[in-house]
Symmetry: C2
Subunit: 141 residues, 2 copies
DNA sequence: AGATATAATGAGAATGATAATCATTCGCTC
DNA sequence: GAGCGAATGATTATCATTCTCATTATATCT
């Protein structure tokens, strides 16, 4: 069986995906956390032949179609995740750790905002930055 | 006159800044839009001697102190801006243009969230992605 | 002030993620 | 199955960011 494919889907009616683009898309969906292009490349490599350039190109394509989004990781590399995973984080400026929020605090807000702007919103990014408790304590020594 | 210095200040009581760190801080405040490290370097260079490494280190330091924030630019480089400028954008996935929101829609939400998490929030990032009207029209051809 | 310890700076080299090349292969239509 | 544009992949080129280390500024103490 070929089985599961997170059925490339979203608000945006995007063109058919190629086999490799679909693999990249699926790879992101199989992971809980966001992945860098390099990590995704290693992951996919274990199951099939695919070039690094193709991974980067697929990510770019998927992003243009509004199927995936990216955020800047602590080490400067881009971290990709499916748009459907509406997940946000509190990220510590000191240690770089990210703590997930238990739910999106602006889903409703987006719905209110949409009709008031001449722009078709596909998704949003939201992240809070500051100090985690351990780091905050170490601060005031 | 030496004049204006955006009086390094914020919710976070940060250590004194060095002359160059202050220059970087001021440089960002003099610009309307967010700047990349390289752009900022060129800008500062016109007025004073400063090394590229110093600019990067200053940005890192200021970021740790919660005085500035960064977002990932369209071309992959980090764009820095003062934390005090609480500005958000609608960014088009197609043409890359960013349309500023007239006000921050979650300032109040952040205040509500803060007491419920074991984390000292300095600031947040929020951005909407999708298609601007022109691009959305061109789409359904 | 002079001596000393510590942090900041800068020129340049090293790193590493991402983009560009270009020859080859794939997917489709006729 | 020939024709053709899009996709792929091995490789190289870019270029933002980090690292090294010698030099210099700043703070502290006598
Ligand atoms: Mn959300
Ligand atoms: Mn805001
Ligand atoms: Zn921390
Ligand atoms: Zn557009």
């Amino acid at each position: 069986m070929k089985s599961d494919s997170p059925s490339q889907e979203s608000a945006t009616h995007s063109p058919r995906l190629t086999r490799h683009q679909q693999a990249v898309f699926d790879g992101l969906h199989q992971q809980a956390a966001a992945l860098s292009a390099q990590e995704l490349y290693s992951l996919l490599r274990q199951r099939q032949a695919i070039g690094l350039a193709t991974v980067y190109r697929a990510l770019e394509t998927l992003k243009l179609h509004g199927l995936i989004k990216s955020r800047m990781g602590a080490n400067g590399e881009a971290l990709y995740s499916p748009v459907v995973s509406d997940q946000h984080y509190l990220t510590c400026l000191q240690c770089g750790q990210s703590f997930p929020l238990d739910h999106c605090p602006i889903q409703e807000l987006e719905n209110h905002l949409q009709p008031s702007v001449p722009f078709k919103i596909y998704y949003h990014t939201l992240e809070f930055f500051g100090l985690c408790t351990p780091c905050a304590d170490t601060k005031g020594t």
